[in-house]
């Protein structure tokens, strides 16, 4: 177990920056998730930590020791691959034993350690199977056991759940999180799935175009997104585009709202569907809208509301007894608490 520090980590391929000046400090026992769209540099960052990509600039420290120039096999990291990468010609037990053998652990110690690791992921009874004889979820757990058995300094997870079906994904993410907390191991996970990231992380890192855009807890990212990009990427947002002038926000569609933000000019307002209040009658601060689409999602209902010819917002209402369930074509009245406004020019500009 150890902390992990990335300092000014940059990887250039010719003119292209895969990552640019990434600074991160992962505390001992922390579960950090790198979140971003594909091509944002999150996987390159993980591969630099594991040693498969040589950084162009910057340094990597694990447990205080500089490992930037060490080859992968001399860093003590445990990596769980997206496709699991289990050795097909070895049994489950042999797969898990591999890391111990490489570390010169005496033969007599390997058996019990492998058994412990497999018990940890509830696969102790399948030690003699080959990977191809197992389901995707079981293979995933073997990969986890193989990465944990030699007590790595850092556990690295590269989209570990993306090959599982939705139901299993829900279960496995809780299992991985619980295991990581129980062992108190430092972990870095890469994912493009925000729900996964929000469920599992102690702290999240949002990346795009090779750069870190925001670091913080779920609550930080949800309540105080640093930029329009983060507001759109973490949680759902509806955006209203328009212009701020003289304390008013006017959209292209003619909607006019009060706006007391310290900014002027073209702007975008980000609204969270879960924060909208929908009522049949006008109420203070409410705007009328026509229901364009009703999407029933179990206990919750998404309403697509047309506020003006060009302004569309999504509001989520709960489907409890007694709550208002509008029909297609109804006119409802929607309001929202103070929302963040961002300058329209740059998706990474700070909001107010």
């Amino acid at each position: 177990m150890a902390g992990l520090q990335l300092h000014g980590l940059t990887k250039r391929y010719g003119d292209f920056h895969a990552t640019q000046n990434v600074e991160l400090d992962v505390k001992e026992g922390e579960f950090l998730v790198l979140l971003g769209p594909s091509g944002c540099g999150k996987t390159t960052t993980l591969r630099m930590i594991a040693g498969f990509v040589d950084p162009t600039e910057g340094s990597i420290r694990i447990g205080g020791k500089d490992v930037t120039l060490l080859p992968p096999w001399k860093r003590n990291t445990g990596l769980v691959f997206q496709n699991y990468a289990l050795f097909p010609h070895m049994t489950v037990a042999q797969n898990v034993a591999f890391g111990l053998e490489m570390r010169g652990v005496p033969k007599s110690d390997i058996g019990p350690k492998v058994q412990d690791a497999l018990d940890l992921v509830q696969l102790g009874h399948l030690a003699g199977r080959y990977p191809r004889q197992m389901s995707g979820g079981q293979q995933q757990r073997v990969a986890l056991a193989r990465a944990l058995v030699f007590r790595p300094d850092v556990l690295l997870l590269d989209e570990p759940l993306s090959n599982l079906d939705a139901k299993l994904r829900h279960e496995v993410r809780i299992e991985i999180r619980a295991l990581q907390q129980r062992l108190g191991i430092t972990a870095v996970m890469v994912t493009h799935d925000q729900e996964e990231a929000l469920t599992m992380a102690d702290r999240l890192v949002v990346m795009s175009d090779g750069q870190v855009r925001q670091v913080g807890s779920q609550r930080d990212l949800y309540e105080r997104p640093a930029s329009r990009f983060v507001a759109g990427f973490v949680g759902r947002s509806s955006f209203l585009e328009g212009e701020v002038r003289d304390g008013r926000f006017t959209t292209a569609g003619g909607l006019t709202l009060p706006c007391d933000k310290p900014m002027r000019g073209p702007a975008v307002i980000a609204l969270r569907p879960e924060r909208m209040t929908v009522a049949a009658q006008p109420h203070p601060g409410s705007v009328p809208g026509e229901v364009e689409f009703v999407s029933y999602m179990g206990g919750l209902i998404d309403l697509h509301l047309r506020l003006s010819p060009t302004d569309l917002v999504v509001a989520q209402v709960s489907n409890r007894e007694g709550s208002l369930i509008p029909e297609l074509g109804d006119t409802v009245h929607v309001s929202w608490p103070d929302a963040t406004a961002f300058p329209a020019s740059d998706p990474h500009a700070r909001g107010h």
């Binding site: 594991a50 040693g51 498969f52 080859p71 992968p72 096999w73 990291t77 445990g78 990596l79 691959f81 496709n83 990468a85 289990l86 050795f87 097909p88 010609h89 591999f98 890391g99 490489m102 570390r103 193989r146 990465a147 030699f150």
Partner: protein
């Protein structure tokens, strides 16, 4: 005609075609086997009776035994040398793009494409010119023959190793390195076991194509030393009797057994 019976008609037509090609391919094998058990010397119809005498004759013939030994020796040596060149070459072709990459890929098809007699003649010219230029005794030497046969082995081995490398997931190598294995250990413990099917199949096909080669050997063997195909050709110029049929059946049997044994360990249909 209902949809169902129409569907069955199509199925029967296609299966009949498959059976026809099956028959087409097996007919020569059936007839040569039949002939090898004839009692009489002249291939006539119907046979006068059956015996194993031509098998005894084939096995007792010292020229055939010697030629068989020579062919086996040449084949084994050529396969070993061919593998030693082909394995790193296939790895390079699979992993790196370099100058001449595409050319090498096409060149690999060469021994399958260039008529054997052209290839044999070209090799003969090369060896003659090298002998004249260097004064070394290359022509008709055992080394010269093996050198030529390596040319037959390389394309098979490189192509089949390449085919199994194409199905090899390189993240397995990264997994091994992440678990603490250096480059050589990774190759030995992870890469090698995964591409073994291609290596075995390549060696087998390389050996067989060396063993059965006539055209190239025609140009390269010394007058005294002959390979099995040449011994058969020489025998046939002198007389035609079922001895050759027996020899042929024996060869086919040996090759078939080698194929079946290999197939048990390595699914040939996956790589060939």
């Amino acid at each position: 005609m209902t949809a169902l019976s129409r569907r069955h008609l199509g199925r029967w037509t296609l299966n009949a075609a498959a059976m026809l090609s099956f028959l087409y391919l097996s007919i020569p094998l059936i007839f040569v086997t039949w002939l090898s058990f004839y009692r009489q010397e002249i291939p006539s119809y119907p046979p006068e009776g059956y015996s194993l005498r031509w098998y005894s004759a084939a096995i007792a013939n010292e020229r055939f035994i010697d030629a068989f030994a020579t062919s086996a020796k040449v084949g084994i040596l050529a396969t070993i040398i061919g593998l030693a060149v082909a394995l790193p070459a296939a790895l390079a072709l699979n992993r790196y793009r370099f100058f001449g990459h595409a050319a090498l890929g096409n060149l690999l098809l060469m021994p399958l494409i260039v008529p054997g007699i052209v290839l044999g003649f070209a090799l003969y010219v090369f060896q003659v010119e090298t002998e004249i230029a260097t004064g070394l005794p290359i022509m008709g030497s055992f080394g010269g023959l093996v050198f030529g046969h390596v040319l037959l082995v390389i394309p098979w081995t490189v192509r089949l190793i390449l085919a199994s490398l194409a199905g090899f997931d390189r993240t397995l190598e990264e997994a091994a390195m992440n678990l603490g294995a250096g480059r050589l250990t990774t190759f030995r413990r992870v890469t090698m076991p995964s591409i073994l099917p291609g290596i075995v199949a390549g060696a087998l096909f390389g050996f067989v194509s060396s063993f059965g080669n006539l055209e190239m050997s025609l140009f390269l063997v010394a007058p005294g030393e002959t390979t099995l195909p040449i011994a058969i050709l020489q025998y046939l110029q002198w007389r035609i009797d079922p001895t050759i049929a027996a020899i042929s059946v024996l060869q086919i049997l040996i090759i078939a057994v080698a194929l079946l044994v290999t197939d048990r360990f390595v699914k040939l249909s996956r790589v060939v």
